[in-house]
């Protein structure tokens, strides 16, 4: 488990993180979202010991990271701006990781490289941006580290490969009990893979929740009632958002689906459709409910 408490980091007068606190549970995929410059990359660098925090503490499995080689064996970090030695082939890079990580599995690496059809004998510097990202991901996965950190995880990767990579990440958590922290400024990228989400805004965690709870506590319905109706008709519901178009209204409601369904049926609607709710919508309305305009945040 990663426990972050009141972490602060500044560069000169520029305060990037202030009093960030959050907890990342083991064996889960944690998504960290935020606009560009929100401090996502800085937070990941602090967790991985690349940067040193000005204040606060970060503990991994109850231990402080500071220059702790044994603890660093449990972590692997793939930054947004990837780095490979210019003279190294993918295989050379794998050997580098093998030299550095005790649990690096060369077999896993070969398997994943083959799955992604990456030429391991080719210099990584000659690969495209997306291919470099794939290389970095499979190298990180092959380390078998307990905690994996990916900054702008799928940047430059095409949708097909993105799905393959998501499966590989999911497999890592399921089969190897890994904990993955991934950042993105795009919620859609994370919605079908993350268990938990944290929203970083102006150097602090603004909102944090697990996606299952969010999804079970919010519904999106399309409803039409006999005769004229408006938002007042739904005052018994916890309406987060109401929009009427013609005779059909779309509502985002907080509450358990079963309870809402029972209550709606009692209103004898002409139309009652349950629509899928996206992670972005969950976030938008959850944020609006606490007074933030989501589009200004992400």
């Amino acid at each position: 488990m990663i426990t972050i408490e009141k972490v602060g980091k500044s560069f000169g007068k520029n305060e990037i993180l202030k009093d960030v606190s959050c907890t990342i549970q083991n064996n889960s995929i944690y998504g960290l979202v935020g606009a560009n410059g929100a401090g996502k990359s800085t937070l990941l660098r602090l967790i991985n010991g690349v940067y040193e925090m000005d204040k606060g503490s970060i503990q991994i499995d109850g231990e402080e990271l500071s220059d702790n080689e044994a603890l660093k064996q449990k972590l692997v970090f793939v930054p947004d701006d990837l780095f490979f030695y210019s003279t190294y082939t993918l295989l050379d890079s794998a050997k580098f990781y093998e030299a550095m990580y005790e649990n690096f599995a060369m077999e896993d690496f070969f398997e994943m490289a083959s799955l992604l059809k990456l030429d391991i004998h080719k210099k990584v510097s000659t690969f495209s941006k997306g291919m470099k990202r794939q290389c970095a991901l499979i190298l990180a996965l092959a380390t078998n580290a307990e905690y994996l950190f990916f900054d702008e995880t799928f940047d430059g990767v095409d949708p097909v490969i993105r799905n393959v990579l998501k499966k590989l990440l999911a497999k890592q958590t399921m089969e190897k009990n890994a904990t993955i922290v991934m950042t993105s400024h795009n919620l859609r990228e994370l919605e079908d893979i993350c268990d938990n989400l944290g929203l970083l805004y102006k150097g602090g965690i603004l909102f944090e929740s697990d996606i299952d709870t969010l999804k079970t506590n919010m519904c999106k319905v399309q409803v039409s009632l006999k005769g004229e109706f408006n938002e007042e008709n739904f005052k018994d519901f916890a309406v987060l958002h109401y929009k009427k178009c013609g005779s059909v209204a779309t509502l985002i409601l907080r509450g358990k689906e079963e309870e809402i369904r029972d209550k709606m049926k009692k209103m004898k609607p002409i139309i009652l459709d349950w629509l899928p709710i996206t992670l972005e919508e969950l976030f938008i309305y959850e944020m609006e409910s606490v007074g933030y305009v989501f589009n200004e945040i992400v």
Binding site: V50, E69, L82, F83, Y85, M100
Partner: protein, 670 residues
């Protein structure tokens, strides 16, 4: 945690592997280049190559500034780019482990490279017949450069530990290396400026030092007045106390291009202090690196104030140079200098930080740096200057006299304490012969201080003085036994020279005086590697006739071999003594060179007779290599030349030459 636990060889291997070209440079190019230079040097010495610390150091010396810098950059360049910092910084390796791995690994790499370079040089020397090289010399060379390379590596490592980009690292390394020596040189150049060609006087209370041939110009009343008081003028160049003390710490500080090679010497004290300083720098670097924030990269320093201090220090030498240039000049010259400094100050920011920041603070810092630098310059100019002008001859306790020995590629210093020789040198010092050939540096010791000047000597004075100095050396049997090379004139004997060793040893043991008449003193010089330097021991060939004969025979045989190998490549022949009627020898030599060489070649095949008259002929070959041939039967040689003259005298060229020669003689007469 032990050092070896912190040495992560896997990381080091990968760090080196990523720069295969650098590895090639270390393991391949440097040792091979060194061998090539070595071969060039050897081929440039057809009469034999006597290895010394200096002549083997050329590439190693230059490499001392470059190789550790490249190595440190290879190992630490990840710190200068954000994305490589993310990569290495997140790896399971601690900062102290990175530092110690790079320090130990880098040092080992330098060790291996030097070992390879010097071993290869040693092996090459074994394959070449004309090279004189001893194992202790190679070992000393290895030790000197290992210490030097590690020292430079420690400096660059320390510099890279504190900076965020390469260019600032280079600036810091240069400051660590040269700022202090520069300051000392600058200070000395001001404080001792009066010494350059300063008039000084030797006061001769002792008649022995009064020169026989001292002249003042007719109207130089000051000179005449001094002469009346037995004060004789000479030019004092500088006080030897202006030596740069920090040079004694590390040879690296004494960098003046390839000239610096001449300072390469095995000095235990120097090596020890350099070693200590290396350890100190490595240790400081360790503590700084351990606390280093990796986020600090792509800019000069984390703290702007440190950037300002370092920038100010780099400005100091420029400031002093400009100060000396524009001092006392017009207002516009000063303004121009100020503008140059300002440009430097802000261009430095652009280079090291990519932008100019905190303009107000920068201007303030510029002002402070400028006034501090100018204050230092001003203060140094106010320091009292040395004013010693009169040197009583009796106060001169010793004189060091330097002779550059071409074959050793090094200067040999003779310490003269004998009063008679001191007086003789003082006479040379004040009378300075206008027909001089040699300009010899000397250092006078007077009342515990040293002063540098020079004496001008004619060929004869030079050889007389150095013969005397050589003869004053104590020659022990041990020094002869330990010799590894021997030269007769400039020719190194390639054969086993045990015969000579035995003869000279026997002579030294018996304590006999020289026997018989010495017709020709060809001189015999033994070389041994003693007290970490090549030492020459000159023995007069006059100690026995047998020795003289053997020397001349071996010498002639050597020339004979030389002729066989290089027939047709000899450039010049001259006679070592003036023979009557040989004024046109130059002409005949140029016209009938081949025949003259053939004559000499045949003459030196004949056995030499010491009792007969002997003619010494100098032969100059390619690359200015020269030798002296000894032949008997002067008359036969004169007859041979006469025959050539007979052949030539009717030619127009000879007539023209004769006319020119006569015209010259008439001109000299008038």
């Amino acid at each position: 945690m032990s050092l070896m636990k912190l040495f992560n060889y896997k990381y080091f291997f990968q760090n080196i592997k990523k720069s295969a070209s650098v590895l090639a440079l270390f393991i391949g190019i440097i040792p091979i280049l060194n061998v090539i230079i070595f071969l060039l040097l050897v081929s440039g010495s057809p009469n034999g190559f006597l290895a010394t610390l200096s002549n083997l150091s050329i590439l190693l010396f230059i490499g001392m500034y470059i190789i550790p810098l490249i190595l440190a950059y290879t190992l630490y360049n990840f710190m200068f780019k954000r994305k490589s910092i993310d990569f290495i910084g997140s790896m399971p390796i601690s900062k102290k482990s990175i530092y110690l791995t790079n320090t130990i690994g880098g040092s080992l790499l330098l060790f291996v490279m030097l070992l390879l370079t010097i071993s290869l040089m040693g092996l090459t020397s074994l394959l070449l017949p004309n090279v004189y090289l001893t194992f202790p010399l190679l070992f000393d060379l290895f030790v000197i450069f290992l210490v030097g390379y590690l020292f430079m590596y420690s400096i660059v490592t320390l510099a890279f530990s504190v900076v965020g980009n390469f260019i600032t690292g280079l600036a810091v390394a240069l400051l660590l290396l040269f700022l202090l020596p520069y300051f000392q040189i600058y200070k000395n150049s001001i404080v001792y400026s009066g010494y350059y060609s300063k008039d000084a006087y030797i006061v001769c209370h002792d008649e022995a030092c009064i020169p026989d041939n001292y002249t003042c110009y007719e109207y130089d009343y000051s000179c005449l007045e001094h002469q009346r008081k037995n004060e004789y003028r000479f030019y004092l160049y500088e006080s030897a106390n202006t030596n740069i003390p920090i040079f004694s710490i590390a040879p690296l500080f004494a960098f003046f291009g390839v000239e610096g090679v001449k300072w390469v010497a095995f000095d235990k004290g120097q090596l020890f202090t350099t070693g200590l300083l290396t350890l100190f720098y490595f240790t400081i670097g360790y503590f700084i690196y351990k606390r280093r924030k990796l986020e600090h990269c792509e800019t000069s320093f984390y703290h702007f104030s440190v950037h300002l201090i370092v920038k100010g220090l780099t400005m100091f030498p420029i400031c002093t140079i400009l100060y000396e240039m524009v001092r006392g000049q017009s207002f516009y010259a000063n303004l121009f200098a100020l503008a140059l400094l300002l440009i430097y100050y802000f261009v430095y920011d652009l280079i090291t930080r990519k932008h100019i920041e905190k303009i107000k603070v920068s201007f303030l810092a510029f002002g402070v740096t400028l006034f501090t630098s100018l204050g230092i310059c001003f203060f140094i100019h106010q320091l009292p200057k040395e004013t010693v002008t009169y040197f009583a001859s009796e106060d001169i306790s010793s004189i060091q006299i330097k002779k550059y020995r071409e074959e050793m590629y090094q200067t040999e210093t003779y310490m003269v304490k004998d009063k008679n020789t001191i007086h003789q040198i003082l006479r040379y010092l004040v009378q300075g012969d206008s027909k001089h050939t040699y300009n010899v540096d000397i250092t006078l010791s007077s009342k515990g201080r040293e002063y540098e000047t020079n004496i001008l000597l004619t060929e004869e004075q030079y050889s007389t003085l150095f013969e005397k100095l050589e003869a004053s050396k104590t020659v022990s049997q041990e020094s002869i036994e330990g010799a590894y090379a021997l030269s007769i004139y400039h020719n190194f004997v390639t054969q086993d020279f045990s015969w000579y060793k035995d003869k000279v040893s026997a002579f030294l043991t018996s304590g006999e005086k020289q026997s018989g008449t010495c017709l020709v003193d060809t001189g015999l010089t033994f070389y041994r590697y003693h007290h970490h330097k090549v030492e020459s021991i000159r023995i007069s060939s006059c100690i026995s006739e047998e020795l003289q004969k053997k020397i001349i025979q071996d010498n002639n045989q050597k020339i004979s071999e030389w002729y066989n190998k290089n027939r047709g490549h000899f450039t010049y022949v001259s006679l070592d003594e003036e023979l009557e009627g040989m004024e046109d020898f130059d002409f005949l030599e140029s016209r009938y060179a081949m025949r003259i060489h053939q004559y000499i070649y045949e003459a030196i095949q004949k056995p030499i007779l010491l009792q007969e008259d002997m003619l010494i002929i100098s032969i100059v070959g390619e690359q200015n290599s020269s030798a002296r041939a000894y032949i008997n039967d002067k008359d036969a040689f004169v007859s041979f030349i006469e025959a050539l003259r007979e052949e030539a005298k009717n030619t127009q060229e000879y007539q023209e030459y004769k006319q020119q020669l006569e015209g010259k003689v008439r001109g000299e007469d008038t």
